[in-house]
């Protein structure tokens, strides 16, 4: 299996675990149009509601974390149950997006999965250390997404 998992120990927060039967809302971020379309379909076929974004800034805007957006967070709940992002993106990388999400008080418990076509151990470790739930090698397969899906709805590992 071509993915690495950070969910040993206590890094999976119970707040974002879902009841099985609920449809997770996933935000998929990738600058490549074809990859966006494929990831979207993979997720939809695994009963996820999907929003796509073509870069980090647009993703943050969707999440309500964009520059200039209202930062009063009382009573606010994350719009999404999972963020899956490409690593290599121009402007803001997936790693930088991960950091921004983890810095946010409402979003920090939302699992972030990083995807990359390149298997670079230092890159993978850097992301896991920053709190990424998982690192997945592209191109993604149905089995990868099924694993991810079951992690979202199951017990903590």
């Amino acid at each position: 299996m071509e993915h690495m998992d950070a969910s040993s120990g206590g890094s999976s927060s119970p707040k974002i675990l879902m009841e099985s039967g609920e449809q997770p809302h996933v935000l998929a971020v990738d600058d490549n149009l074809i990859d966006r379309k494929v990831v979207e379909k993979l997720l939809k076929n695994s009963s996820c509601k999907v929003t796509t974004a073509e870069d980090g800034p647009r993703a943050l805007e969707f999440l309500g974390l964009g520059d200039g957006q209202h930062t009063n967070l009382e009573g606010r709940v994350s719009k999404v149950n999972l963020i899956i992002t490409d690593y290599c993106m121009p402007g803001m990388t997936g790693y930088e997006l991960l950091k921004k999400v983890k810095e946010s008080s409402i979003m920090k418990d939302v699992p972030v999965v990083i995807m990359s076509s390149e298997n670079v151990p230092t890159r993978i470790n850097k992301c896991l250390e920053e709190g990424a739930q998982m690192f997945m090698l592209k191109p993604l397969k149905q089995s990868d997404v099924k694993d991810l899906r079951s992690q979202l709805t199951n017990c903590r590992s």
């Binding site: 149009l33 074809i34 494929v38 939809k44 121009p90 076509s117």
Partner: protein
Amino acid sequence: MEVGQMQRRLADYTKSLFMEGILDAQFLQLQQLQDESNPDFVVEVSSLFFEDSEKLLNDIARALDQQSVDFKRVDAHVHQLKGSSASVGAQRVKNACVAFRNFCEEQNVEGCVRCLQQVKQEYCLVKNKLETLFRLEQQIVAAGGSVVPMTELGF
């Protein structure tokens, strides 16, 4: 030609594309993703791939044509093309892109120009093959048959 024969012809044709390494298992993933809610998924993704690739190939050619070649820019385009070709299962295009990136790293213009030709060739090949494949599928559907994804090719 009756439907059964057409389906066998399609199966043989598809298999040949895998045997020749033009397509890889990722293409099967795409076929498996196709369903009633999105019955043209493979054709749609392939069309996006063709459009995107042609644009990238033009951008690369233009970048290589400059007095002072911006190898970072060329590499960025090749990286995109490598990604999309991998996502659709266009294995030989992807492999040609991998080789191309090495020449970008070396900042070797001649090498890059040769690689561009190679990538173009592989791209044209996979485009023609896929267009033929889709035509064969259309003929089957038009004749009242169904097209079943090839999940097991035994490779």
